[in-house]
Point group: C2
Chain length 422, copies 2
């Protein structure tokens, strides 16, 4: 399916108006940025850039699309004819996916004629706002989990396609696996899962269920032990599988207390290598609270796919330059800064980041300064520099290390880095 109709009606009416009065062909620069970080978070994670570039390839108007647009009154015949040949032929620069961003960071810069560039607004924002919100929440959980693995299992709590994108964003942020099969196929993310309470309830006894699971999935599997009584469940699981059982999962109750009890019981049964996986409405705060519990892996669902209280990154797509001239709106509480921006992050010699400097000219780069924008599209073609998902995952892991220590705090506060407009 094409992506061109995943767009707001007014992009097309603006195009129609601009084609008619000739302004459509002015050279424009649009920038994507967030005015603030949601919930006083310390950093944002750029997510979705790769998906924007994928979607750009399919941003074409076929005959069916054009018929619909005409029937909806969104375009006239002249505009429809122009759209039939639409290909984005401009340039896009941006923060690589997995980069940290702060209020005002020019996350994506789109250059092209007004006609070509305005049409990308809705789709680019949909992807970046969703994926960045999820990636940012997920990164906070990765920080909270420290070295313990995190499994994303929230598909059922969000739109079925958002679930796939959420699995991708969580993996970008450092999750180790997802339950979502389509994310495995589409993006090569490891998928995992063994059984739900329904599988235990299906059988006449818990033992029969574990027997069935063992026979099919082998001794390395994870058995869900909290359908009836956790102590009995663990005893049965080890009776059935022996002390080589891979893991048990606990999905309810006071997980910190239960994990300690489960560890003691498993050890007393000789199952010292059997891991403990916990799940059940975990977010970054409850994960952090489990740091002292003998937990080997976390399953997180709802809180990941809903951005843990911040389901959208609130980024906007603003026209900042027309034919080389800076433009800005002056709307109350929504004023914007005109002109195409360049951004640089400055570091101490130790590698710790100090500030982000955003300027209208190309700044001189000091020894410890790093430009943040990379070319993503040139003349409509994706560049070799556009990072892939694994590279972005690695990029984020390294970027988080550069933040001052308070930047990794889960509590609300100021952005971890000041943003200086020079």
């Amino acid at each position: 399916m094409g992506t061109a109709l995943l767009t707001d009606h007014y992009e097309l009416t603006m195009l129609a108006s601009a084609l008619r009065d000739g302004s459509a062909h002015r050279e424009c620069v649009f920038e994507v940025f967030a005015r603030r970080l949601p919930k006083e978070r310390r950093f944002g994670v750029v997510g979705g850039t790769g998906r924007v570039l994928d979607a750009l390839v399919d941003f074409r108007f076929d005959a069916d699309d054009l018929d619909f647009l005409r029937s909806a009154g969104a375009v006239d015949d002249e505009t429809a004819a122009w759209l039939a040949d639409y290909r984005f032929s401009g340039d896009i620069d941006g923060y690589p996916e997995g980069e940290l961003y702060f209020p005002g960071s020019p996350v994506l810069t789109v250059r092209g004629t007004f006609a070509e560039a305005v049409l990308l607004e809705t789709l680019a924002l949909s992807i970046l706002n969703h994926d960045s919100a999820i990636a940012t929440a997920a990164a906070r959980m990765v920080i909270a989990a420290s070295d313990r693995p995190l499994i994303e299992m929230g598909s059922r709590r969000t739109h079925e396609e958002a679930a796939v994108a959420s699995a991708r964003a969580a993996y970008l942020a450092g999750f180790t696996a997802t339950s979502n099969l389509e994310a495995g196929r589409r993006y090569g993310i490891p998928t995992t899962g063994t059984s739900a309470h329904a599988f235990t309830l299906l059988h006449d006894t818990e033992k029969a269920a574990f027997d069935g699971q063992l026979a099919a999935l082998g001794v390395g599997t994870t058995m869900l032990v909290d359908t009836y009584d956790i102590t009995a469940g663990i005893r049965t699981a080890i009776e059935v599988a022996g002390p080589e059982l891979g893991a048990v999962r606990i999905d309810s109750g006071d997980l910190g207390v239960l994990a300690v009890q489960a560890r003691q019981q498993l050890d007393s049964l000789g199952a010292t290598g059997t891991r403990i996986v916990v799940s059940g409405d975990l977010d970054e705060y409850s994960i952090a609270a489990l740091a002292v519990a003998p937990v080997d892996a976390y399953g997180a669902g709802t809180s990941v796919v809903t951005g843990s209280g911040a389901p959208t990154a609130g980024m906007v797509y603003k026209l900042v330059e027309v034919d080389g001239r800076p433009v800005a709106k002056r709307s109350e509480n929504k004023a914007s800064r005109g002109g195409r921006k360049t951004s640089v992050r400055r570091y101490r010699s130790t590698g710790t980041a100090v500030e982000e400097v955003i300027s209208l000219s190309s700044p001189e780069l000091g020894e410890h300064d790093r430009p943040l924008q990379v070319p993503l599209v040139r003349s409509g073609v994706r560049t070799a520099e556009a990072p892939n998902l694994l590279a972005s995952r690695d990029h984020l892991e390294k970027a988080l290390v550069t933040l001052p220590w308070e930047g990794l705090s889960l509590s609300a506060g100021d952005p971890a880095l000041p943003v200086i407009f020079s």
Copy 2:
């Protein structure tokens, strides 16, 4: 694209285990329900049922799907062979889309073998949880807006496909139109939109922008007047278009104050029929606060597509019956009620709803009782009773009228109707 991989890995491993030990062919009943309403809301709106039925048609495993599932270790060869012929051949009953639901309401009931029915869990929940969350939030905005029209314009703040589903859910809830073009094409929802601030900034003057818009879109169009100065913007808009201008839109600032000023100014210019559309981070509360302002229509975005603080409905899909025997888990804080449930809503003779009664047997229906579940699928085939979007929209409008008056309150509180388990 097929929908079968929009599924959690563990549905497939459970299937593999159950095929191997023979339990896969037991006759099962799964129920979808919400343990609670989010944020102490007074009611929930069932959204997405129609999309579940659409997705069911494409729930097939083709050769590529099966290759992936084998390579991911999710299924063995026997399971893959079984999946190749998968068709859901069971029955589905449920609350019609647009029906109100309360904690415990059996919103969807899926009957079939374990193998056939367990596979639908993730996809059914993804759709119902997303669409119900959006429809519920949107319905509260419709209540707040009273008779004034609401336009959904939040596509850019959510996943690009969730945006289409959100537009659909908002329309179900009573919104009059959406900005999302794909929602217009896919579901026949009216689409609307005229121009953004970028269109004004593109031009050398605001007047030039309005001239261009008028020439292309005609005098009935809506002009965005807050790019620079609202008073000047309105003056220019009427100069350009005359007092027959369709509408002005204000997207920033104190909308209540600005709407009063705009109305006075428009009237003084003779533009007494020019409508005032307001937008800009509106939610149900700010819409309610604008009830006394001279506003003719609202545009709502972020708050609609993010469920206004509750982005998921939190519904679960639970096995309640196996071969006619009720089953229930006893997990701490997540216990479930076994047995297939029937639900009835009782009304006063005046038409006001009194309570919802959920029972394990078929209850006797009194004169003012209404059964809530309708047959949606029989032997794998969608029934004629499965309502379409327009019928569901109408259903919800009528259902809201039956609530006791406090049920329409925007404040947090108990569910509008008690749910009695008998």
